[in-house]
Subunit: 124 residues, 2 copies
Amino acid sequence: MAEPEQLNRVFAALADPTRRDLVARLAAGDATVGELAAPYAVSLQAVSKHLKVLEDAGLVSRSRDAQRRPVHLEAEVFDLMTKWIERYRRQAEERYQRLDAVLADLHNDDRGADRAATDEGEAS
Amino acid sequence: MAEPEQLNRVFAALADPTRRDLVARLAAGDATVGELAAPYAVSLQAVSKHLKVLEDAGLVSRSRDAQRRPVHLEAEVFDLMTKWIERYRRQAEERYQRLDAVLADLHNDDRGADRAATDEGEAS
DNA sequence: TCCTTGTTCAACCAATTGGTTGAGCATGAC
DNA sequence: GTCATGCTCAACCAATTGGTTGAACAAGGA
């Protein structure tokens, strides 16, 4: 899958609180669709749909065990997101630091100018 | 804003490639709506809507400069996402490590049993 | 073979989303 | 005041989404 398209799907998948909760519970271990659906007020079919969304995003995989379809979290996909996020956070932070440096320089120049003026005043 | 609701909005906001591109460009510095809209094929109003989604998610803020509305990236919100992601990634990784340890133990036991059996064979 | 269990598929519905266009508003320039 | 600029608001449209129910499928147990 193209990376931008996968980013679309992963972010969209995690935009739903039910799906985030599914991911949270799957981090503790694999589970079947029935087990996953039990705590929610919605139908089993709705949960099955949510799992399909997560699967299409590459966040989970499903195998087979008799009638059951155990669901497994594929945590590597998280890296795709954190890489994207960290890249721009770092860029923004570096920009702030440069801005701070410029402001600090301006401040120092001001203080330097003040001190020079004072020195001149004292000398005159 | 409640944290789950903000997570909904932030993830949903970044699920759109145009909005991710806006964030990427804003990481390089503030910009006006017109500047941001220029490279895209869509109308200025569409970009304005995208910026509203990013603003509602807390990802950008807008101030005023005469007729212009400079847009500014609020990079702190990224932390909310990375905190959520890292929590479950760590949990999943720890689980894998425990599983590896169990498998290694089983393997050692097997080798131990093999060796014991061999020893017994050799001893008998 | 038929039944039960676990799950998916299909059709439908209401709400949301991303886009459009046209009108309107805020602000500085004349 | 009038005008131009930069942007938002409102109404609308097609496509997508999250939910429903009912039917169908896959696989083990009686």
